[in-house]
């Protein structure tokens, strides 16, 4: 057996400890941090993203798609040529599938003359600041897979979400909050759960961190009961001091990353509660968003928090508002429950755009509004009226970050069933968002299982120039 094994460790360090000591501590402590800001592929138009996600599939036909023929032919069957060969959710169910006229009136607004329904009086006032795309198209018609598709570009579990990709591509400019934050409102979590903001094949460093409305805003954020903040600081300092000693002894860079992580964790303990405490906002701001109770969880409060997060340098903020699945069941119809959801989000979504604009943040920030799919022109008549899931044409809007305000993009047929002009696939949306952030969707890749994964998948995707300034 090799005599090397029997040299003692002490001897080893007496020899090379000197060498290590001569490496400057500064170089050992190099910020090798995966979240450090990174260079873009080309100059960026925007730095941040706020994605307002209406989970369940909002009905474009009661919000943005004005289809007079649908009113005229209400109750008549849809021509066979439209539905032949299509698959729908609840295929086996025998709900009627006749055309259903919109449940609400529409008017034209703004200089661009966008049609917006009377359910959305506040959104109607910002149409000249947003790009409305009525021809969005996705691939999957069940909620969880379609949500995954919108967020990760794939219906399979385990792919990185858009927020993770963006944080991976750009790093974070915030050293006391996570780079990718998720906020939730509505009666329950979105279908699919944490995988919607997961990091998939990317390191967990990039996964979305949900800011919670109950208990700690971040899991395990509070110092344990009975421990004062002075004690916590002492603990962090002692951990740092002992870890530094180990770093010098072993030369392992991971220890320096861990030391940084403890510092950031400690800062988060202060900065996250401070972020969530909106008492310092003016009454005018609260009124703009429609926030009545500053403690109560609501979509409106989340919109305001989104602005506060962007102000603090957070890269990607995603809001989920649930219960947009209006099939026509007893608690999910188009006459009563859809307008309630619209009231929940209309004022605050518009306020967010206005507020970002007046604070000079809108130029740098892309705001996205939409869900995982839209709803069919045919009605579903259950206890009351609703519509089924529809993947061929649905509406999303975009604001800020170099998107051209007042744009109406894409044209659907007279029922709003499919695109007749300028279809925009989910992957095109992804490519466009990345493009505005200075990232080429074909170059933003990660190698796993022998493949270069990317957000936009393997089929070609295009940047939708028509909605860009």
């Amino acid at each position: 057996m090799n005599t090397l094994q029997h040299q003692t460790r002490r001897h080893f360090f007496s020899r090379c400890g000197v060498g290590l000591g001569s490496l400057a501590l500064g170089s050992l402590m190099a910020r090798d941090d995966a979240l450090a800001p990174k260079k873009t592929h080309f100059p960026a138009k925007a730095k941040n993203v706020i994605f307002l996600f209406m989970a369940g599939g909002p009905s474009q036909l009661e919000m943005f798609e004005h289809k007079p023929l649908l009113t005229q032919l209400n109750g008549k069957p849809i021509p066979d040529s439209y539905v032949k060969g299509k698959r729908f959710a609840f295929m086996d169910s025998s709900h009627r599938s006749d055309l259903l006229g919109p449940r609400i009136g529409f008017k034209q607004h703004g200089q661009c003359g966008a049609w917006v329904s009377d359910y959305l009086p506040y959104t109607a006032k910002i149409v000249d600041d947003i790009s409305i795309v009525t021809t969005c198209k996705t691939e999957l018609f069940n909620h969880a897979p379609a949500k995954l598709y919108m967020n990760t570009g794939s219906g399979l579990f385990g792919r990185p979400s858009m927020g993770a990709w963006v944080t991976y591509g750009l790093g974070s400019e915030c050293d006391n909050l996570p780079g990718f934050v998720v906020l939730q409102s509505g009666p329950r979590g979105p279908r699919g759960g944490a995988v919607l903001w997961g990091s998939g094949v990317l390191p967990t460093t990039y996964q979305g961190v949900p800011l919670r409305n109950q208990g700690d805003p971040i899991v395990n954020l509070s110092t344990p009961e009975g421990i004062s903040s002075a004690e916590q600081r002492k603990v962090v300092d002692a951990v740092r001091e002992l870890n530094l000693k180990r770093l010098v002894e072993t030369g392992d860079q991971e220890i320096s990353t861990r030391i940084n992580a403890y510092e950031m964790a400690y800062r988060m303990q202060t900065s996250a509660p401070e972020l969530m405490d909106i008492r310092d906002e003016s009454q005018a701001t609260l009124d703009l968003y429609g926030i009545k109770d500053i403690q109560e969880t609501s979509y409106a409060r989340n919109c305001l928090l989104a602005r506060r997060l962007i102000e603090r340098g957070v890269r990607f903020v995603q809001l989920y508002d649930t219960n947009w699945d209006h099939h026509g069941g007893p608690t999910e119809n188009l006459e009563k429950h859809l307008p309630e959801k619209c009231r929940d989000v209309d004022q605050a979504s518009a306020a967010l755009v206005k507020d970002l604009k007046q604070r000079g943040l809108l130029d740098d920030t892309i705001v996205i509004w939409g869900g995982e799919f839209g709803r069919t022109p045919m009605g579903e008549v259950r206890e009351s009226t609703g519509r089924n899931h529809h993947i061929d044409a649905f509406t999303m809007w975009f604001a800020g970050g170099g998107f051209k305000g007042g744009t109406l993009y894409g044209q659907t047929d007279e029922f709003g069933f499919g695109a007749v002009e300028n279809p925009v696939h989910v992957h095109d949306i992804h490519a466009t968002i990345l493009h505005q952030l200075g990232l080429d969707h074909e170059r933003l890749t990660v190698r796993s299982q022998g493949l270069d994964f990317r957000l936009t998948g393997v089929d070609p995707a295009r940047v939708v120039r028509g909605i860009l300034a």
């Binding site: 094994q5 460790r9 699919g192 944490a194 992580a261 964790a265």
Partner: protein, 776 residues
């Protein structure tokens, strides 16, 4: 924040390390072709540009209307070469639209020399069976011979052995996933320091044997296997209801503890139900492929998700045993590896023929057959007795006052509402139950019947595979879309690998499992030794542990890989023997500290001139803190448990789930027993990169994030460990607590830092040290 986000750097390193010798196709040329050319000029004919393929000699040299991609020995006439060196952006290869940069000077030089030397091709290294390498007889262990030979080439030397305290902690964590107790450390360190080299080897050997025979060995390596089996305790997707399949988890632990040979281990999991006279345990083992998700969402097409689960099984089988990305051929022929879409569906056909039942598993002490027979006898006796005495029921019914009828219990009323002919055994038992006296033989017989029923209904269930009597028809699906069936296919294996023996009748899963474990298979043994190596050194000898195909990286030490692969088979697939071989080596036992010279010459430690410090796996982070604080329950196996988790975690999914915190010892079980809901897994595990079980995980990433810091500092569970460790500090001193966490004595300067704090906060610091959660 991660050791290596992009791990595929070895190819580049390999070529610069080896470029001195003659050109080798597999080492020097194939990586260049694979990375730059084969996506458009490879195996997949549908995406083959200009009809040129460069993955075979025949293809590269074929005459295509006068042009030839490569003309051996003639650069001028080699079309491919001319395109590579072209400065015309419409001509140059790879084309700018591929986003691949032009080949660099080094790559060009290699290609040029290779074409000049006649452009010889070689079969892909991983498809050639392992070759026994030459060993020297100087007494150095084989692993160390291969590692030291490479180090020598680069003017480096292995590090000295780690000190004995580090060594015992390292090998304990690696073999059983638990730290050594302070007394184990003391005994080992004292004896080791005093011993002669030969005697210290013997001490170490004895330590390794003790650990390998511990029940906890199966837990630590069981978790390694459960990652690959994508094990979790719920159905996944959005509804994510709980499921029972922990019997499979326990089967894995037991099989490893018994050192079941890996070939048998494989065959039982893939096809245990098809073995002659399959035992209950062999059926439980088939739970491996039942760890797929089940979608319970409304409005779905069940067939779509059944097909999805089979896609997952094909991909998992490919990754886990073959180290091939077979799943890539689901929608089209594989772009890089010689696997056609048709061959993919031939593999699919093996896995398409089963029912997916729940199986009841009883306590091993019960004779279920006898109990069932007894139940039948009792049931028959009851039936005939009832028939004989049915007059009694009729008489009772006749005499009954109408007011009385209304007061009868529900089941009795229900029985009475039926005609006599329609009454079931249960109905009649209910009726007799109203009027028969306590001593009535019918009542006594009924008690016996009910008891038997209770016992037989009790057992735990587990998910298993069960072959259908008649196989399902399997077709190719166009673009992987189950609504677009194409030609029918029969079960079969990829033609690039060893052939599968034919038989009369259709091949089944058992044939597939035996084919995988055939000694002729060039892949499986290499793939498994590599994946075990990866656990010890943080990286496999083949860095792309799930891709041994053409896109994968080359082995850093090909001869060592082959030697280990052959050794595993020679040791009759004993995994314990393999562990023994690895941990005995000096390569394993050397210090993990780095020196400026090593840091400069081999920063990523590809050459293994030192050990690597590795942050512990998520479960072991918990287990180490449990053990250090003295709370650990050593119980092995059994139903999953529910340790404390942060408030609100279970409300994040679509359906809120109840999490009733376990009491008593079950609160302090090892983390692999914690119940895992795929859609809302325990945060303290996921922040440390535990997989959620959505798909097979053959290598965990090791992230290093602020959320980990928050978990160790603030999580309710970890704080509870700290309060237990505080008591140890109060009774035995902070030195003892330090040793429980790190297996070493604190130095005075370290002690001084800790002494500044009260016992509770000193305990918290100890559980937060990098060293505590790291294997050094």
């Amino acid at each position: 924040m991660q050791r290596s986000v992009l791990i595929f750097t070895f190819t580049a390193l390999a070529s610069c390390l080896h470029a001195a010798g003659p050109i080798s196709f597999n080492r020097d040329i194939r990586p260049i072709l694979s990375e730059n050319c084969l996506a458009c000029h490879g195996f997949d004919p549908k995406h083959r540009e200009g009809g040129l393929r460069l993955d075979t000699f025949e293809g590269a040299t074929a005459d295509r209307e006068g042009a030839r991609g490569i003309v051996p020995g003639d650069l001028q006439k080699s079309d491919a070469w001319q395109r590579i060196i072209s400065e015309d952006k419409d001509e140059v290869m790879p084309p700018p639209k591929s986003h691949k940069p032009p080949l660099n000077a080094k790559q060009r030089e290699l290609l040029k020399a290779w074409i000049e030397q006649g452009a010889p091709y070689e079969a892909h290294w991983a498809f050639i069976p392992p070759q026994a390498p030459k060993l020297s007889a100087d007494g150095t262990l084989p692993i160390d011979q291969f590692i030291q030979a490479e180090l020598n080439k680069h003017g480096l030397k292995p590090s000295p052995e780690a000190d004995p305290a580090t060594l015992i902690r390292r090998v304990s964590l690696d073999l059983i996933g638990l730290p050594p107790s302070p007394s184990e450390v003391d005994a080992f360190v004292q004896a080791y320091r005093k011993a002669t080299p030969a005697a210290s080897d013997e001490l170490y050997r004895a330590l390794v044997e003790r650990l390998l025979s511990s029940q906890h060995y199966g837990e630590r390596w069981g978790r390694w296997w459960l990652d690959q089996a994508r094990y979790a305790d719920s159905n996944g997707y959005s509804i994510d209801a709980p499921r029972q399949i922990w019997k499979f988890r326990d089967w894995v632990i037991q099989a490893l503890n018994q050192d079941m040979p890996f070939d048998q281990f494989t065959i039982e999991q893939l096809a245990g139900d098809l073995l002659p006279k399959a035992t209950v345990n062999q059926k439980i083992a088939t739970g491996f492929h039942r760890n797929t998700q089940i979608n319970q969402e409304g409005g779905i097409d069940k067939e779509q998700f059944r097909i999805d689960s089979i896609f997952d099984r094909v991909a998992t089988t490919g990754s886990v045993w073959l180290g091939l990305t077979i799943g890539c051929a689901q929608c089209h022929d594989h772009k890089f590896d010689p696997i056609s879409q048709k061959e993919y569906y031939q593999m699919f056909a093996f896995l398409n023929n089963q029912d997916e039942p729940e199986m009841k598993v009883f306590d091993a002490s019960l004779d279920i057959k006898a109990l069932n027979a007894e139940l039948k006898t009792v049931e028959a006796k009851l039936k005939s007795l009832i028939q004989e005495r049915y007059d009694e029921v009729l008489a009772w019914e006749k005499e009954m006052a109408s007011g009385f009828r209304a007061k009868l219990a529900g089941p009795v009323k229900k029985a009475l509402s039926k005609t006599v002919a329609k009454r079931s055994l249960e109905d009649n038992l209910a009726l007799f139950g109203v009027f028969a006296p306590p001593s009535d033989p019918l009542r006594i017989l009924n008690d016996q019947y009910q008891q038997l029923n209770t016992v037989l209904n009790k057992g735990t269930t587990t998910l298993v595979l069960k072959e259908l009597p008649k196989p399902r028809k399997t077709t190719v699906f166009i673009k992987g879309d189950f609504t677009r069936p194409d030609v029918e296919v029969q079960p079969g294996t990829p033609s690039v690998l060893h052939s599968i023996p034919t038989k009369s009748g259709q091949l089944n899963r058992l044939d597939l499992a035996q084919w995988i474990m055939s000694p002729k298979n060039p892949l499986t043994s290499r793939v498994i030794v590599n994946r075990i190596w990866q656990q010890y050194f943080g990286r496999g000898l083949v860095e792309t542990e799930n891709d041994f195909g053409l896109q994968g990286s080359l082995p850093s030490h090909p001869e060592l890989l082959d030697w280990l692969a052959l050794e595993l088979m020679k040791q009759k697939w004993s995994l314990k023997a393999l562990h023994r071989t690895i941990v005995q080596s000096h390569t394993y036992r050397q210090s993990s500290a780095t020196t400026p010279e090593m840091h400069e010459k081999d920063p990523q430690n590809y050459l293994l001139g030192r050990q690597t410090r590795l942050r512990l796996d998520a479960e072991i982070v918990r287990d180490v803190c449990l053990a250090a604080s003295g709370l650990l329950s050593p119980k092995v196996g059994g139903p999953p448990v529910y340790p404390p988790i942060p408030d609100g975690v279970m409300g994040q999914g679509q359906v809120k789930r109840v999490w009733k915190v376990s009491e008593g010892a079950d609160r302090y079980r090892r983390a692999l027993y914690t119940f895992v809901y795929r859609a809302s897994p325990p945060p303290s595990l996921t922040v440390f990169d535990a997989p959620e079980g959505f798909s097979t995980c053959t290598r965990r990433v090791r992230s290093n994030t602020p959320l980990q810091a928050l978990t160790l500092m603030n999580d309710r569970g970890f704080f509870e460990f700290a309060t237990a460790l505080q008591q140890i500090i109060q009774s035995q001193g902070v030195e003892a607590a330090f040793k429980r966490c790190t297996a070493r004595d604190p130095r005075p300067d370290e002690l001084a830092v800790l002494k500044e704090l009260d016992a509770l906060n000193a305990a918290r610091v100890l559980l937060n040290l990098d060293e505590t959660v790291t294997r050094e």
